[in-house]
Amino acid sequence: MSGFGGFVLRRAAGTVVTLLAISVLIYVVFYATPGNVAQITCGPRCSPEQVHQVALQLRLDDPLYLRYWHFLEGLLAGQDYSTGTSVEHCSAPCLGVSYQSGQQVLDIILTKLPVSLSLVLGAMVLWLVLGVGTGVLSAWRRGRLSERLLTVVTLAGWATPVFVLGLVLMIVVCGELQLLPFPEYVKFGDDPEQWAWNLLLPWLSLALIEAAAFARLTRAAMLETLAEDHIRTFRAYGVGERAIVARHALRGALAPVIALNANNVGSAVGGAVLTETLFGLPGIGQELVHAVKVVDLPVVVGMVLVVGFFVVIANAVADVLYAVADRRVVLA
């Protein structure tokens, strides 16, 4: 167990280093650009006095490493923001203040988070079930017509951009057939049933696309396992094909599926941005697109930080899960 504990500790330490490095990178990319940083941060409609205020807040006269330290301090310990007339405290983790809306970036993200989580987590359940299910089915029915069919469908899903599928689904299901109303986000707490109905199409759009990758991976991993010696031994002992596929070959696919799910967090977040924009769901993705369009830099930077951290932590957790699923990893 000590080997496993040590592995988790090493992985955690590595994660902390990566998170710090990401914060440095993001700070340098967005706050050390050659342009007028205070002006960009404050937004296009700021008066010279406001821009001056922002320059003081960002400590633009200090050397770069001190400015970054100040930024990190805000992130870890909180910071006071002067709005000109009053001073507002932004408690840790302080991601800054949007000068365009006057809101704290963390608050903006927290109000939008439930929508994005509803979308991504719901879709994740769907894409794991659909993807792994399709992969298992096509490994089991290998060489038959149904497998060819599944392969073609999977490839089509793999090649379709999520916003194209979502657009077509929305037009066919909501517009032409009128089976569902055009999606409009309802809070889970208000009405769970309406919440699910309204998220059904966004879930499907995101999940069908992501499922394709899992179907391909599961199929490949299972075929690999099925070719191994111990499976031949099972066959020789007279174990049924169904039991071999369901019980033994599937285990071989488990670890790669976990790894892919973690690697896919980034692409899923990207898919969520597109899905939210397409269906008009008021989540983080839609807010990010809005912030980019109006050049609300503190919001953009805050969201990139949060998403980057989220992806890194998800990957670290997946590594640990991977090690649980396949203990050989710890030894490597």
Partner: protein, 354 residues
């Protein structure tokens, strides 16, 4: 080329072939895959359309940016006049709602943007990925640590979110297609760097590389003359699969309204407003959507075909069971060329089979 193909032995008799005939072997293996050939034809056609866009639109007598306000019904919000979205002998595929711009011209010029951005971004990704991967594998411990950490960080940052953010801070005077190319190219090189690092680590202990090192060759010369040829297969494989990903990325950014902006046409951007018009002008939605689908599908199938042709071991893995014959037998005869995604000691097992 056709002579080379005709002269090559029949498919299916996989015997080890000297590295010199690698290209010929590649074509022979690609040729046996029907789907990949069809995809290659489609891709060739798309490239041709993109290159000949000015010619095609001259043939039609239109251009992608001229407004035709007389062709849309301003009283009904800008719906194209006439059936089929205003399709006619002058406007082969109809006109855009509201502006009346020619849809055919926008579609073929959109192919230029789509393929141009994707290919140029792929070149950037491959250049950075190979440089970082080789440098990381050949450098000392600290260089390796530094470059590997940098790669980890780049891999962690989601392409979509990061490119959105970068597009926010660049002044709008910067030419958009170039900007989108740079952003995609500079963000998504992490995976190719990992693959190249793993493959280089496996290659650098082989005898012919050691021989070059012991003859006193410099690192750069060894990298160029001895390592890059061995890296070609995995790099080409991965690059072939990057192109469709980059096409989707450009389309997605333009769809969100932060990528390629009007008047420059782009398929993703055409879809932004398409859902409002699908009843009056369905082709406004269906054409760019179909173009994107066909392009990404063809490039993906072609990429799969390239991988199969370059990495028969992976291909035979996937084929296991379909034929139910000598499982995995042909994998032993071919040299593994495809680096595993996971770095580290497992990738060194290559030496055992070589």
């Amino acid at each position: 080329m056709s002579q080379a193909l005709a002269a090559s032995p029949a498919a299916g008799t996989d015997t080890p072939v000297p590295a010199a005939s690698g290209a010929r072997q590649f074509w022979r293996r690609l040729r046996t895959q029907r789907a990949a050939l069809v995809a290659a034809a489609v891709v060739a056609l798309l490239v041709l359309v993109a290159l000949a866009a000015p010619l095609l639109t001259a043939l039609e007598g239109q251009d992608p940016t001229t407004y035709h306000p007389s062709l849309v019904d301003s009283a009904r919000g800008g719906v194209p006049i006439g059936s089929l979205g205003g399709a006619s002998a002058d406007h082969w595929l109809g006109v855009e709602p509201q502006t009346g711009r020619d849809l055919f011209a926008r579609l073929v010029y959109g192919a230029r943007v789509s393929l141009g951005v994707a290919l140029a971004a792929t070149v950037i990704q491959v250049a950075i990925g190979v440089a970082v991967g080789v440098g990381s594998a050949l450098g000392n411990r600290w260089v390796d640590q530094l470059l590997s950490r940098a790669t980890d960080i780049i891999v962690a940052l989601p392409l979509m979110v990061m490119s959105l953010a970068l597009l926010a801070i660049v002044p709008s005077s910067f030419p958009r297609p170039v900007l989108v190319t740079l952003v995609i190219g500079l963000i998504a090189w992490g995976n190719i760097a990992k693959i190249v690092r793993a493959q280089t680590l496996a290659l650098k202990d082989l005898d012919y590389v050691s021989a070059a090192r012991l003859s006193g060759w410099g690192v750069l010369r060894i990298a160029r003359r001895e390592l890059l040829p061995g890296l070609a297969a995995p790099v080409i494989t991965y690059a072939a699969l990057l192109v469709p990903t980059n096409i989707s990325a450009e389309a997605a950014l333009s769809f969100l309204g932060v990528g390629v902006k009007p008047p420059t046409p782009s398929w993703g951007q055409m879809l932004t407003a398409a859902d409002v018009w699908y009843q009056a002008a369905p082709q406004y939605l269906l054409l760019p959507a179909g173009a994107l689908f066909v392009t990404v599908l063809a490039l993906t199938v072609l990429g799969d075909g390239v991988r199969t042709a370059l990495d028969p071991r992976a291909a035979s893995r996937l084929r296991i069971g379909t034929g139910r014959k000598n499982e995995g037998a042909d994998s032993a005869t071919d040299k593994p060329v495809h680096g595993h995604k996971d770095t580290g000691p497992n990738s060194d097992d290559r030496g055992a089979t070589a």
